[in-house]
Assembly symmetry: C2
Homo-oligomer: 205 residues x 2
DNA sequence: TAGATTGTTAATCGATTAACAATC
DNA sequence: TAGATTGTTAATCGATTAACAATC
């Protein structure tokens, strides 16, 4: 029996739902509805119910959803009911900021190492990490069993770094370099480029 | 005659096209085709032609597109044929990194000021900027005529900062705080949260 | 019970793709 | 001319919404 394929676009909304639920929990709320969640997120209630129904039945008619329970379910679905170690490559401004970022806590993610190729940076402290030599990238990542990496190098080095990470078993890359990475089908890539986001808005100004 | 409304999703792809074209220019290329561009970006050639056709006819049958010309047209469409000044709010790791980011150059954007509310940060240098007191946020932004801002404050301050920015005439906000901002309809918001991007990928691991 | 809200179905809406005449 | 590639149309595909029976 082939497992049902969930559209990417649906998977992409789950982290947004989860973040909102965690926020409600922090506000000491216990129950919510598709309508309330939708209003907070600017998404229709019908869409939220449809999205969730792809994975099971998590609500109660007349009552809505237990926030705690639904958040738990989403964490399981997204596989962030555990903690994933992340390697950061590039110890410039962005790499350093992301290595020190506090926002990963309780969200299933944790930075555990940072690399650079600059002799002046190798060995210095970035937050609680000592910058490692990129020359040891592959073996270090293999040994640590790391599956997720963030690339924060200059554009011209990003593809080469990606290739090395993938050879070392990395399966998910968050790329801060403003360049499109080419990767095999079994590897997932997401891009963060502030300019792209900003240019999406200048059109409307 | 009402102007044709372009779908958001089409506008959202234009900056990607532009970035790729600028890269080709840097590689000293002069002509490209929808097919080549599509291969680089993992987008179908038909979709690229369809997207571009919403705005005009930029290519030549049999030859393709002049990279220089098409890039120029996209810059005009996206209104980045000029330079937009940006204010950064929050001078922590992320705000500082983004204020120093070199990647805005030649892409129609430029950071011109950075604010914080921490007395220990106000007055210090971040890149070429002196951190300003957030107490003066509104008037300073009005005076400078700034329309675009990036929020890199803690979550609990982000909505309040957004409200102030909007009162001061800001029309586009790039939000790095991991929280959904509520804004009037005429204001555009984009969110960057590395955790959201990462959780989109952990599902597939 | 009355009110509320789910999960699901069918209808609608919108986006993508395939195909090809036009033409460089 | 022959080959290539555009811009566009129509067909297909997929996503969103509206509506409602089920039921808490």
């Amino acid at each position: 029996m082939p497992e049902k394929v969930i559209p990417d676009i649906v998977v992409g909304r789950l982290p947004i739902y989860l973040r909102s639920l965690q926020r409600m929990l922090a506000e000491n709320r216990h129950v919510t509805s598709s309508q309330e969640l939708g209003e907070r997120l600017g998404i229709s209630a019908a869409q939220i119910r449809k999205d969730l129904s792809q994975f099971g039945e998590f609500g109660k008619q007349g009552t809505g959803y237990s926030i705690d329970f639904l958040a738990d379910q989403l964490r399981q679905i997204l596989k962030v009911d555990r903690v994933w170690d992340i390697a950061v490559v590039g110890a410039g401004d962005i790499g350093s900021a992301v290595a020190r970022y506090q926002g990963f806590a309780n969200r299933g993610l944790r930075v555990t190492m940072i690399f650079d190729n600059d002799p002046d940076k190798i060995g210095i402290q970035v937050g609680s990490f000592t910058v490692k030599d990129i020359a040891n990238l592959g073996p270090t990542i293999v040994k640590a069993g790391i599956k997720i990496a963030m690339i924060a190098t200059p554009s011209k080095e990003a593809q080469e770094v990606a290739d090395q990470l993938i050879s070392a078993g990395v399966k998910a890359i968050l790329n801060y370099a403003p360049i499109n990475l080419t990767v095999p089908e079994h590897v997932h890539v997401q891009h963060i480029d502030p300019v792209i986001h900003l240019q999406r808005m200048t059109y409307y100004l």
